[in-house]
Subunit: 199 residues, 2 copies
Amino acid sequence: MEDDNHLREHTHSSEEILNGKFLHAFRDTVTLPDGGSATREYFVHPGAVMVIPLLQDDAGQIRVVLERQFRYPIGQVMVEFPAGKLDAGETVQFCAQRELLEETGYTATEWARAGQMRPAIAYSTEFIDIWFARDLTPGAAKLDAGEFLEVFTATPEELLQWCQQGRVTDAKTLTGALWLQQVLQGSWPLQWGAALPMP
Amino acid sequence: MEDDNHLREHTHSSEEILNGKFLHAFRDTVTLPDGGSATREYFVHPGAVMVIPLLQDDAGQIRVVLERQFRYPIGQVMVEFPAGKLDAGETVQFCAQRELLEETGYTATEWARAGQMRPAIAYSTEFIDIWFARDLTPGAAKLDAGEFLEVFTATPEELLQWCQQGRVTDAKTLTGALWLQQVLQGSWPLQWGAALPMP
């Protein structure tokens, strides 16, 4: 990678400015590349995982599992791939398996890590690890208290059409659509592995 | 669209919990679909615009204009499409033209709106409007004080390879890569219009 020293900022001091139930924010004073100083405010996030779950219907056509969920900051029901935050001490693959089970009821025997995305690089430390799951078995979802969502399936073509039309605007799901298309056309091959044992 | 009343949450009360220089956060009490109550914490954001600027080299090959910028919450230099926040009262197309000029020095005679994305639907009201620009003329960038970034160009194939390899992880730029690929292969046609007059 290129030498980044002429772009890099260095932490001078840091203070917590919000310790909410969910949001934790800091204000740091930083030294700029030219020696000047500036303020950076950001939210510290534990990280998250998104799952792109692949089903095959009776005719052999691939379908993906999606959710419809009301997102309060947006004021709308959003179409999304299953996703959730990491619990303390949890590996990303375990989190992926747990969130798929809790939100959709599905378990999968095969898993592949695709990559990572950063949703809001200007003001959040959040990463979302991107996983594919296949060989799915349906079961009962185990939603958290206060969590309401609907699970449904769609073809990759339907998902892409919704991305074009603006019915899908969630950035993680748009990124998932990019990965899905590249994987299905064979351009971005995945390395599949076994599911981790779940308790 | 489907009836969403069984998923929808309603605001009961709202309080500001952070009034920072950049971050403004609220904690709302909401009524859940089953009549229960819950807390929602979120950032209020003015909205932003991302530009996918298309160049053609001497051989007629398309290239896109990209930036390398240090992102403090991530601690890394990120590869991104040009983007920036809306100023008060500004239209999204004007913001797109202004940010492209300020950050890269380019002006474009033709503009097309592609769609919108929502970077962090769990905790931010932010939207990013996605625009394409073509027929570019280079000029001098006008960076804000404390803003340091490098402008460069790449082919769409290079950008997609970086998305696959994890060199591009910014969610807006990954979403831009999806749009770019679909537009260049003719699947998602754009409606081009003229640039707005700039002061």
